[in-house]
Amino acid sequence: MDDALFVHRIHFAFTVTYHYLFPQLTMGLALLIVALKTLALRTRNPAYDDAARFWTRIFGINFLAGVVTGIPMEFQFGTNWARFSQLTGGVIGEPLAMEGVFSFFLESTFLGMFLFGEKRLGRIGHWWAAFLVFAGSWLSGFFIVAADAWMQHPTTYSRLPDGSFQVTSLWGVLANHWAWLQYIHTMSGAVVTGAFVMAAVGAFYVLSGRHDQCGRIFVRCGVIAGLIASAFQIFPSGDLHGRYVAQNQPATTAAMEELFHSQAGAPVVIMGQPDVERQRIDNPIAVNDALSFLIYGTTKAEVAGLDRFPKRDWPTNIPLLYFSYHVMAGLGTLFVALMLTAGLLLWRGSLFRTRWALWCLMLSFPFPYIANTAGWMTAEIGRQPWLVYGLVRTADGFSSNVSAANGLFTLLGYMGLYTLLSALFCSSSTARLKKARHPSRPPLREALRWKPFGSFWSH
């Protein structure tokens, strides 16, 4: 732990991994809440309003946790990755500043109205508040993905004499193909998380015989959204993204698939433990020709293996990359299977009597978090050893003026702080789950937040 580069990498990895536990649910739930509120408007069934209201409370806590864990991310570009920031600020700074200016103000303005303004805004007004919060959070996601996509696949830039980058076309950064492919993949991953969480809470209520009506709406909504999103996640978004990676980062694809030697009819190794030193896979279970087919649409095509690239350009942690990718892809496949089964049972009208299926739904909510995390690990470990692919190495980007000990000190600080935050988050969301829909006493927070607006509306 005395290697500054290592400490700075772990510092960012830890804080960003923890942070992303929250936004994925925020973005997924935001869409589902808008869907529930749309259903409530169209069917005039108050049960949908109750359902939306329940998730709005969870959304509030989750959003807050996402905001407070997001602040360190913006600071860390400067504190821990100063050389990188200096070089790329002219490009990366643009989507990040745009996020602040366009998304954060939008979200912070309408979040209060959305969380605490249902009575005052009326049904239509409140739908709009929900929609604008949804739009803000998805816009925010886009700017972040666009920044990351430029690091993965730099486009429309020029270099100044001191080596720093500047954009030649802002549109080019925002319209980067990589950004759009990564964005739809990331967003549908977020919807998968939202759908699984919603279905799990619904299954819990149905199984325990509490709030049965609400529980059924959650399960139905969660299963339908989960089926659509997890299918979309594999095809077309995962497929397109995977092929784009293979074209533009062939060394990454070779490492993800553990293809040491270039070959025609390359296999997909579904399971196994890569041994990088001996350049082979232990205990492999492989499907021959599958990789060539997935990338090029023909089983005969030759796929470049790691032997095609100099060793200094190989991803720095090949086994971890391999496992991340396979955890993501494996879980993604299981999600489709689970949601397809649940969807069929729902269609046949027997899901709510099939206790084992409800148990599966209830217990499966942690796995989308794992899959989304593994997906981001695949993207970011796969980009190594580069910070900006092919242009800036990770080893040249960190703050060389910040020693390993200082980095370790603040890393430990974040670990402590996030432990506290986790405890508070868990206790307040379980408190919410227990209360479910008992609006006998309005939550204190509603009165707290909304009252001033009240004076405006009543005068």
């Binding site: 806590i61 807050l64 905001v67 407070v68 864990t69 602040i71 360190p72 600071f75 570009f77 400067g78 504190t79 821990n80 100063a82 050389r83 920031s85 200096q86 600020g89 002219g90 490009v91 700074g93 643009e94 990040l96 500043a97 745009m98 602040g100 200016v101 366009f102 954060f104 103000f105 939008l106 912070s108 303005t109 209060g112 100044l160 720093s164 500047q166 954009v167 802002l170 703050s399 003026n401 910040v402 200082n406 000190f409 600080g413 702080l417 935050l421 508070l424 206790s427 307040s428 927070r445 509603e446 009165a447 707290l448 909304w450 009252k451 001033p452 607006f453 004076s455 405006f456 005068h459």
Partner: protein, 347 residues
């Protein structure tokens, strides 16, 4: 072009100081002046709908700084590594204090959350003040424009200063008093009854302290860095700024005595904005002075992003901030008037 962005970033930071300043100041008074649970709720209600929006100004300013002056962002954020991460921790603590107080309905924990909110607010203000002090005083920049500031060295603003020395601590104290007054005026404007009276008497107690501290801070700053007077010597119109500062100070006392709470708060806004504006005017075109070799200083010229990026950015930035200012106006006009006591229990 660099000058335009210097002004824009300065404006965003002034916006942050004026807006988040009052809810930070309210945090200072939360434990000291709001004594009962009802009063503390009232105080939180007065900042409830706006505090997180105010904090967005800091994030947006940070993003804009990153974009417009990458070298300054990179050098100062890594150089002030420890204090900046502590700022983040305090921001998280403060948000926890405000938000979880009402989410976990447990009386015992209320004290914990009140303490977290208030203590984090106090420390944040002092750190922000000290940060301003550091920027005025300068840091020991190397020829590559990088540095690493230890938290303290010998408490002297010499050639190799720490983050804390007697000058930056003084800046922290001035900021603490100024922000407390700012927050007290805001809470007084938003509330009635004993809380309102206590806020007004806090202002009257703190006002002479603030005047003395402000009067001391100016010559001391010139003593620490004499070059800060250069712009005032070159442009006589610059002397309007100290006049505005004095007008703000006078307005605070006059309008508080006259019980015109809104005008008193606006005077305080003027005071905060003019003080920071004066500091920015004194620094220009330097962004971060060097305490050693002046050639190592970070200026708008060596820190700015490419001019093509910057001129393109003006378009979307202008549009985005115009919309953002629209939001601010909407929220504050919705939030007009006094917060009434007891609503929290019955609403």
């Amino acid at each position: 072009m660099e000058t335009v962005w210097f002004v824009l970033v300065a404006l965003m930071l002034v916006g942050y100081a004026v807006l988040d300043g009052f809810d930070l100041g309210a945090g200072v008074l939360h434990l000291l002046a709001a004594r009962t649970d009802a009063e503390r709720r009232l105080l939180l209600e007065s900042i409830g709908p706006v505090w997180d929006g105010n904090e967005v100004w800091l994030l947006a300013a940070g993003g804009t700084l990153f974009y417009a002056f990458p070298l300054l962002y990179a050098s100062s954020f890594s150089g002030f590594y420890l204090p900046l991460h502590m700022v983040v921790w305090l921001l998280v603590f403060r948000a926890i204090g405000i938000e979880f107080r009402t989410r976990l309905d447990t009386r015992v924990w209320c004290d914990f959350f009140d303490g977290a909110f208030s203590l984090a607010s106090i420390l944040l203000i002092v750190v922000f003040g000290a940060a301003l002090g550091n920027v005025m005083r300068g840091v020991s920049l190397g020829p590559d424009h990088y540095f690493f500031a230890p938290l303290w060295t010998n408490f002297q603003p010499g050639a190799d200063p720490g983050v804390l020395d007697w000058y930056t601590v003084l800046c922290g104290v001035v900021t603490l008093v100024a922000t407390t007054v700012h927050g007290a005026l805001y809470v007084a404007m938003k509330t009635e009854g004993p809380l309102n009276a206590r806020m007004r008497s806090a202002v009257q107690w703190l006002w002479p302290v603030l005047v003395v501290l402000s009067a001391v801070a100016v010559p001391v700053t010139v003593f620490v860095r004499a070059q800060l007077l250069d712009n005032y010597r070159a442009v006589a119109a610059g002397w309007l700024i100290p006049i505005l500062v004095a007008a703000g100070l006078a307005g605070i006392l006059y309008f508080t005595r006259a019980r015109q709470e809104r005008n008193a708060f606006l005077s305080s806004c003027l005071y905060v904005a003019a003080t920071l504006g004066g500091a920015a005017f004194a620094l220009y075109p330097t962004l971060l002075p060097s305490s050693g070799n002046p050639a190592n200083a970070i200026t708008i010229r060596n820190a700015a992003a490419g001019s093509h990026s910057l001129s393109m950015g003006l378009v979307w930035w202008g549009a985005g901030m115009a919309i953002a200012c629209g939001y601010v106006i909407v929220v504050y006009s919705m939030f007009k008037g006094k917060v009434q006591a007891g609503y929290g229990e019955h609403g």
